[in-house]
């Protein structure tokens, strides 16, 4: 498999501030690669370095094995879709798309057919003579994509292109972008702060935090096997407990939470008894009123504080009696649990395999992080 884009130990400093810190990754030919991270973590800076609009302070960027150091953006086989699209308002749709081809001095008829073809490809046939401000958000989006794709770049870079769209359209464009990428086969490097965009579309996702990479993996692995507490908190919803190890054997541990509950869970690395740990558990890993025959489950009681109805994504907001730890518990909408009311006491069970445990990191950040980026 050919490597289209290789980023090697790239660092970018603005005076004393390190925006991107020693980042490395490789993107294979034809894949959809996402960089996921909260706002201000250096995603745009990284993308601009790949496009050549900023020079890295240290490190190398290679495209199809060729070093890109010192090569101007107009000479690189990559194109960037800007956060706010940057369509040229002084040109109509067809002129926007033809802009790059004209700069290559391709002949007029070839340009015309290429523009026609790409407009069809992005479902905008017949829109060539429209002004860019006559288009809807989704159409402008597709013009921006067409304007880059028509140049057949080795790598297409996308900087949060769906950020400005409303929710419904964003959901729709997510699927469309993924389909488009599969159809044209161009390598996409996509950056976003929206984990759902990254998970839905990507072959691989790199999770970035404060200029460094936390984990690069498939969406499934990021979700089920986070390697760092940050990934566990940032990708998908998670419940967390602080506690201490009571006993540890290989990758199985028994821990006691600060509230006094005892759970068995798997652990990434063995830790000595007494070590402080953070335990993470997905809302859907918690079973409501599990069958008594399932003996291997961790069991505990909670009081229902609220029912957060959201269709297929409905949750119970609950807390163990006499504590203020808030837990999110998935509430399947199969009518089986319709009897649960506010302030009910219910039993929760979870399998030791679905918990993830990390050595405790300073500061208890919990859900606040996710609210900041929203």
């Amino acid at each position: 498999m050919q490597i289209d884009l290789a980023v090697k130990n790239v660092t970018k400093k603005f005076k004393d501030f390190i925006a991107v810190n020693n980042v490395s990754f490789e993107v294979p030919d034809g894949s959809f690669f996402s960089i996921l991270g909260p706002s201000g973590c250096g995603k745009t800076t990284l993308l601009r370095m790949i496009a050549g609009l900023t020079e890295p302070t240290e490190g190398a960027i290679e495209i199809r094995g060729e070093s890109m150091l010192g090569i101007a953006p107009n000479k690189r086989p990559v194109n960037l879709i800007f956060q706010h699209l940057a369509l040229f308002p002084m040109m109509n749709v067809a002129e926007n798309i033809a802009f790059g081809l004209r700069r290559r001095r391709e002949n007029k008829t070839a340009i015309k057919t290429k523009v026609q073809k790409i407009l069809e490809r992005v479902d905008l046939a017949g829109f060539g003579q429209k002004k860019t401000d006559q288009l809807s958000g989704g159409q402008r989006q597709r013009v921006a994509i067409a304007r880059c794709l028509v140049l057949e770049p080795t790598v297409l870079l996308l900087d949060e292109p769906l950020g400005a769209l409303d929710l419904k359209l964003r959901e729709q464009m997510k699927v469309e972008l993924k389909k488009l990428q599969a159809k044209v086969g161009t390598t996409f490097v996509y950056i976003t702060h929206d984990q759902s965009e990254a998970l839905v579309m990507s072959d691989h996702v790199a999770v970035m935090n404060q200029g460094v990479y936390e984990q690069i993996d498939t969406p499934q692995n990021l979700y089920s096997n986070p390697k760092t507490p940050f990934v566990a908190r940032f990708v998908g919803d998670n419940n967390s407990w602080c506690g201490r190890i009571r006993e540890c054997q290989d990758d199985n541990a028994e821990i006691e939470t600060d509230e006094g509950a005892v759970f068995r869970t798997k652990i990434r690395k063995p830790l000595p008894p007494g070590a402080a740990v953070d335990l993470f558990l997905r809302p859907e890993a918690m079973l409501i009123q599990p069958d008594a025959s399932l003996s291997a489950l961790n069991r505990f009681e909670v009081v229902v504080k609220d029912i957060l109805f959201d269709g297929a994504n409905s949750r119970l907001l609950a807390h163990p009696p006499n504590t203020d730890t808030e837990l999110l518990i998935a509430l399947p909408q199969n009518r089986q649990y319709d009897y649960i009311k506010k302030d009910d006491k219910i039993e929760i069970g979870w399998d030791a395999q679905s918990g993830v445990c990390f050595p405790h990191t300073h500061g208890k950040r919990k859900k606040s992080e996710k609210q900041e980026i929203a």
Binding site: G52, N74, A86
Partner: protein, 285 residues
Amino acid sequence: MKNQKRWVLWFFLSPVLLWLVLLIVLPQIDLLTMSFHVENDDGRMVWSFANYLTFFQEPIYWLTFVRTAVYSILVTFLTFIIALPIAFYITKVAAPKFQGFLMMLLLLPFWVSELVRVYGWMILLRESGVINHFLIKLGLLNKPVEMLYNDATMIMGLVYTSMLFMVIPIVSVLESLDNSLIEAAYDLGADMWSILVKIIIPHAIPGIVSGSIVVFMLTLGNYLTPNLMGGKNSLWFTEQIYNQFIASFNWNQGAAFGFLLLVLSSLVIWIGLKLTKQNLKKVVQ
């Protein structure tokens, strides 16, 4: 109710209308009628085209006229060529905290009157002036040269005087130019020249046109700079008008010249707007 509204409107409009009529329209009409009158043999004023005929029959008049027009266009163009990079530097390259300072530098010469500014140039450039003095001291010249009183110096002076009026409108349009458009063009394969021609100038055209109109009109109507820096051989049409009014005391001829200048500037601006596909309403905004 409706009547009352109208009354209020007239009340507030009347000073403006008064100003327009008394200070602009009336004198102009007076000048216009004056320009179509000549004194006949009996010393009475009669209607005639003679003033305009004189203009076309005397080469010195229409040559000065054409020269003034061509030089004004040249000055406008040169001012634009110099102002565009300056405006670009101020808005897009300089650090934000220096922008105010740079604008200040541009404004500074305008704190003194045009007369003082022109004399400043004369002190620098004349035969016994500062520049000659230094060139001789440095051994680059062995006898002083006269740098004043030629067309090149005059044009330089006019460009210098006009610079601010071109830079400010261009700065204000460039401020509204999204940097990412420039970067997007660069990313799509454009070189600096195509970015300038395809992105920056099309975006800045309203500012360029309004700056050009102001600079053209100011240059065309300038009297001081051509008079003081241009010397004997570089007559400006305003000097001809001045001569008629003041030296020859021929107000009728002067009025005719004044109108010709007005027609010229309107015509050139109209052609300019047509060529750049702008309309006046958009440009003066």
